[in-house]
Amino acid sequence: MRGAVAINAALVGIYSGGAWLAERLAQMLPGEHPVGYIDVSFYRDDYSTKGLRANVATTTLPFEVGGSRIVLVDDVLYTGRSVRAAINELFDYGRPDSIELAVLVDRGGRELPIEPTYVGARVSVARNLSIVLQRDLDGRLELTVEPSGVQGG
C-alpha cells in the first residue's frame, strides 16, 4: 500500500477488526491520514431476519466525507456484504471522490461484485470456519480460525 495510497487519504475501519487495522495503517503509511470508524449494523441486509445485534458502536467520521479520498479497511473479506453496507453508509455522510478497499485477508466466497484494492493475503478455508481478528491487552493483533456461527463479512 505504501506509495499507492494517497498521502491524505482517510482510513475508515469497519468495526471491530478493521478499526484496529486502520489505526495501525495510519501510523505505518507515509502522509497524514485521518482515521474513521464505521459500524454497518444499521445498513446490514440481514436485519429483517437476524435483527439488530447488541452493542452497536457509533460510526465516527471526523473529516468531511464529501470530496475526500477514502480507504475502507476490513480484516476479512468474504461475501462482500459488509463492504456493500459500509459504502452505502459512507454516502449518507457525503459524496467521496473515491473509495478503495484494503483487507488483511481475502478468503473468497464473494456474493456481490466487490473486489479489494489492497490485499494482505489470499487464503481458502472451509465454509464452516470463520477467520477472526483478535486484539489482546497489549494491542497485539492475531488472526485465528474458529468454527462458524459468527456473521460473515
Binding site: D39, S41, F42, Y43, Y47, S48, T49, K50, G51, L52, A54, N55, V56, A57, T58, T59, T60, V65, G66, N88, F91, D92, Y93, G94
Partner: protein, 319 residues
C-alpha cells in the same frame, strides 16, 4: 406469568410498560440508543432499517411533542408514518378500538404507537394482535391513562446515564404532581430496576399516590429536605387539566412550596442536573432562571428521546 412484552426468546416484542421489564432489556435499549444519537448530526439523517414498514401513530389523546418525536424517529428509520388523531375520527362515529386496529392491520400496518386516555389500552391491542395470530405486528405504548409512558421513562434513564454514568450511586428526586404522572411511574420502575439506591418523591400529600412508598420511594413533603444532596432533579408538570376537585390551593401557592428556584437548586449537589418531561409551566413548577440555567438538561432530553424511540422501534421491527 409470561411477560407479554417479550417473545419466547426473551426479545422485545411490544413495549407496554417498564414495570417488570428486565434490567438487561432496559440496558440493551439504552445501549442501542447511543449510536442513534449521532445520526442527527449527519448530512442524511436516515438509516434504512425500517424501509418498507408502515408505522401508525394512534393518538386518542393529544400530544404534539410525543407524536412528533415518534414520527421523526420512524422517519429516520425510513419507515412510512401515518398519523391518526382518532379522537376526531372513527371513535366519534362509534367504531370500537379493536375494530379500528383490525382495519389498520388490513392496510398492512407493521407497528402501532398508541396514546390513550385509558390505562391498559395498548396492552389490550397487543393481546388482541397475538390472540388473532398476528405476532409480527408490534405495539409501543406512548402513554396510557395514569399508568405508564415507557419511552419517556427510557429517555429519562438515557439522559441520567449520559450525564451521571452509574445508577448505583445516585440520589434522584422527583418533584411535584406524581399522582397524575405516568412519566413518574415509568421512571421509578426503571430507576429501581437499574439499582438506583435513593429515589425520592417530593410533593404535597394530595399530589402523591397513596402507594408510592411501596415502589421503594422515600416521600418528602418539605422540598428543601428532599433536594438535599440530590444528583438528579426531575420536575413534573402540574397537570391542572387532569385535576378533579381541589387538590391544591393555587398555582402560585404551589410554586412557593414546590417550584424549583435557583435558591432551592443550591441545596442539591453542585453538579446536579435538572430534568423536565415537558411541556413545562414556567413560574408554576420551575423558574425560568433554572429552566434556562446551566444545570438544565431539558432540551437534550428531547433530542435523546428521538434516539431512544429509534432504538425501541429498531429492536421491535426485526422480530
Amino acid at each position: 406469568m409470561a411477560n407479554p412484552q417479550l417473545n419466547d426468546k426473551g426479545e422485545l416484542n411490544h413495549l407496554l410498560t417498564l414495570e417488570g421489564l428486565p434490567g438487561e432489556v432496559i440496558g440493551r435499549i439504552l445501549d442501542t440508543a447511543v449510536p442513534f444519537v449521532s445520526i442527527a448530526e449527519r448530512d442524511v439523517k436516515k438509516v434504512p432499517l425500517l424501509r418498507g414498514k408502515t408505522v401508525f401513530n394512534l393518538f386518542f389523546e393529544n400530544s404534539t411533542r410525543t407524536r412528533t418525536t415518534f414520527e421523526i424517529a420512524a422517519k429516520r428509520l425510513s419507515a412510512d408514518v401515518i398519523n391518526l388523531n382518532i379522537g376526531v375520527s372513527s371513535t366519534s362515529k362509534g367504531e370500537t378500538l379493536l375494530d379500528t386496529i383490525d382495519n389498520l392491520v388490513a392496510m398492512n400496518a407493521d407497528m402501532f404507537v398508541v396514546r390513550h386516555g385509558e390505562s391498559g389500552a395498548p396492552h389490550l391491542i397487543a393481546r388482541h394482535l397475538s390472540t388473532s395470530g398476528r405476532p409480527g405486528i408490534h405495539v409501543i405504548n406512548a402513554g396510557d391513562g395514569r399508568h405508564q409512558h415507557p419511552t419517556q421513562g427510557l429517555l429519562d434513564l438515557f439522559t441520567i446515564r449520559h450525564y451521571k454514568q452509574d445508577f448505583h450511586r445516585l440520589t434522584v428526586a422527583i418533584v411535584g404532581d406524581l399522582l397524575h404522572s405516568r412519566v413518574a411511574r415509568s421512571l421509578i420502575h426503571g430507576l429501581t430496576t437499574l439499582g438506583t439506591p435513593e429515589v425520592r418523591a417530593i410533593g404535597p400529600q394530595t399530589l402523591l399516590p397513596a402507594a408510592v412508598e411501596s415502589l421503594g420511594v422515600h416521600v418528602f413533603h418539605d422540598m428543601a429536605k428532599g433536594l438535599s444532596g440530590a444528583d438528579v432533579i426531575v420536575m413534573l408538570r402540574l397537570q391542572s387539566e387532569r385535576m378533579k376537585g381541589a387538590l391544591l390551593p393555587s398555582p402560585g401557592e404551589f410554586f412557593k412550596h414546590y417550584g424549583l428556584t435557583v435558591d432551592k437548586l443550591a441545596l442539591a449537589k453542585p453538579d446536579a442536573i435538572v430534568m423536565h418531561p415537558g411541556p413545562m409551566n414556567r413560574g408554576v413548577e420551575i423558574d425560568s432562571a433554572v429552566a434556562d440555567g446551566k444545570h438544565s438538561v431539558i432540551l437534550p432530553q428531547v433530542t435523546f428521546g428521538i434516539a431512544v424511540r429509534m432504538a425501541v422501534m429498531s429492536m421491535l421491527g426485526a422480530s
